[in-house]
Amino acid sequence: MAVTSMDRSLAARMIVSASRRVAEHQDELSRLDAVAGDGDHGVNMAEALAEAGRRIGGQDDRGAAGVFRTTGGAFHETVGGAAGALFGAFFGAAAGRLSGIAEPDASDFVAALGKGTARVMRLGRAEPGHKTMLDALAPAVEGAGAALEAGEALAGVMSAAARAARRGAVSTAGMPPKAGRARYAPDRSLGYQDPGATTVALIFEAWADEMNREEADR
């Protein structure tokens, strides 16, 4: 049965499954970051998401918005660095959009993704094409929006977002870096995906899987 809204428990499971997925790919992410950065991206993301999972576990119920806000806080307090600030801002802004909505539906969720992405752009002053997490995030928002207009529910929306995020992440391999540490050694990272974009793809893929599982279960 189609999942039409995102309650607290579903949002929490999304974070936990993202955490597991990123942890599995942690070494690969750090390796990508070592190409032209400082080699810690996998560690950063795994630690922040693990901390988010712990905090959500002990938290009282404030709906999906609460889960996302807690996740943003975990990013800001656990890892710092570029991705800590940006993912923290992403989840924080997404939480802001969902706040007060008891059971957000697919269109709320797509709007929240858009808010998060806009916040990332404002904070990092980068744009799609600069070889950053935005190259996965921006297409994900677009793909999700298109799926929503085509009448898809959460699972379909999320699957579209995941496919677009992955395509976006893969496309960063061909880009010269224009933001973040990697830009100081512009030739180094040619042929390698941006680590932050790869994390975005992994998170959306974990979410899509979670939604599809949920749908199958209902």
């Binding site: 942690q26 070494d27 750090s30 390796r31 970051d33 070592a34 032209a36 950065g37 400082d38 080699g39 810690d40 996998g42 560690v43 950063n44 806080g73 990013f75 800001h76 307090e77 656990t78 890892v79 710092g80 660095g81 570029a82 991705a83 800590g84 600030a85 940006l86 923290g88 801002a89 904070l123 990092g124 933001a179 973040g180 540490r181 100081y184 050694a185 180094r188």
Partner: protein, 334 residues
């Protein structure tokens, strides 16, 4: 060629916290830990400008050694090579506030700037007044001169910490301290060089090719790779080339007086540093530039990277006077 795979740690993930505990215990007369912050054992008098820096760990003695009289008030240490998050920086701002405003000095790196900006915004939200942030950059390898604001922070920032530290200690007001920070920054240039690479202690990822034996110039302070030099370059060649690039970029006027800093990125021997310094002095003398102050040693390290950086700061009388003022940090005294 030069990558150490084992460290004297108990657990890599506990390393930063345990380091802070050990270092604070060894220097209890100068600093103490307040939660996750490194603060002065004896706070600055009321009404003075507080100086805060938030920075990744792995660069010791920066910045844990730079908190103290005539230097910084608060250091907000982040994880290895990672800026702390906005929450920690906000705490640092609050802790440094002695009623005269707070100057947040940020070494220009994407993460550091973003986290600092978030913290400043939160400070405003919480009604903390008089917080100013100055972004510092000096590394000529990281962007061309006409885009100097895009440059990274490097070891030259030592000049800012020292000079602005003295000014704040003497009671300089917030706008004057911020102005001085920008003035020193704009008179400072740095360039690094390294052999081999280091590995991130937690991820274990080497930040470059451990088998590469060429000298790389323009490496970042977190091991971000630079460009390779020929195998034959000797110490004097390297000093000459690097000083040449710094002087070309800085264009100090005739009769300029500069401070020369030679930063040990980690594991260079004092023997190598002294030889490099000797070459740098010769290169500056050839260009008619007078070296009025020199510092050789570890200022901002990159773990145990076998590398170094030269930093030049053109100094006027006021800067020189502040530069010579007493300072007492756990990692730097004068």
């Amino acid at each position: 060629m030069s990558i150490r795979t084992r460290r004297f740690f108990n657990q890599p993930r506990r390393a930063v916290q345990e380091m802070l505990e050990g270092y604070a215990a060894a220097h209890a007369d100068i600093i103490r830990l307040s939660g996750a912050l490194v603060v002065r054992a004896v706070p600055k008098p009321e009404g003075r400008v507080g100086l805060v820096i938030g920075n990744g760990s792995g660069h010791e003695p920066a910045m844990i050694g730079w908190v103290g009289e005539g230097l910084l008030d608060v250091n907000v240490p982040g994880p290895i090579f990672s800026s702390p998050g906005p929450g920690g920086i906000l705490e640092g701002i609050a802790a440094a506030d002695r009623g005269g405003g707070v100057l947040l000095l940020v070494s220009s790196h994407t993460g550091d700037i973003m986290n600092a900006s978030l913290a400043v915004a939160e400070a405003e939200d919480e009604g903390i007044d008089g917080v100013e942030m100055v972004v510092l950059y000096d590394d000529v390898a990281s962007a061309p001169k006409d885009r100097s604001t895009e440059r990274r922070g490097g070891a030259g920032l030592f000049f800012v910490w020292k000079i602005v530290g003295a000014l704040a200690e003497r009671g300089g007001a917030l706008p004057a301290c911020a102005e001085m920070a920008r003035r020193v920054r704009d008179n400072t240039r740095s360039l690094s060089a390294a052999l081999g690479t280091v590995a991130h202690p937690i991820s274990g990822q080497p930040l470059g090719d451990p088998e590469d034996t060429s000298v790389s110039v323009g490496m970042g302070v977190h091991g971000e790779p630079g460009t390779r030099l020929g195998e034959e370059a000797g110490a004097d060649d390297i000093s000459e080339m690097m000083i040449g690039r710094l002087v070309d970029d800085a264009e100090p006027g005739p009769g300029a007086r500069v401070g020369l800093l030679l930063n040990n990125a980690g594991s260079l021997t004092l023997m190598e540093l002294s030889i490099l310094y000797r070459g740098a002095r010769a290169a500056l003398a050839d260009r008619g530039i007078e070296v009025v102050r020199s510092w050789i040693g570890p200022y901002a390290t990159t773990l145990d990277q076998a590398g170094f950086a030269f930093a030049l700061c053109s100094m006027d009388d006021e800067m020189l006077d502040l530069y010579d003022a007493p300072a007492r940090g756990a990692g730097f005294t004068m």
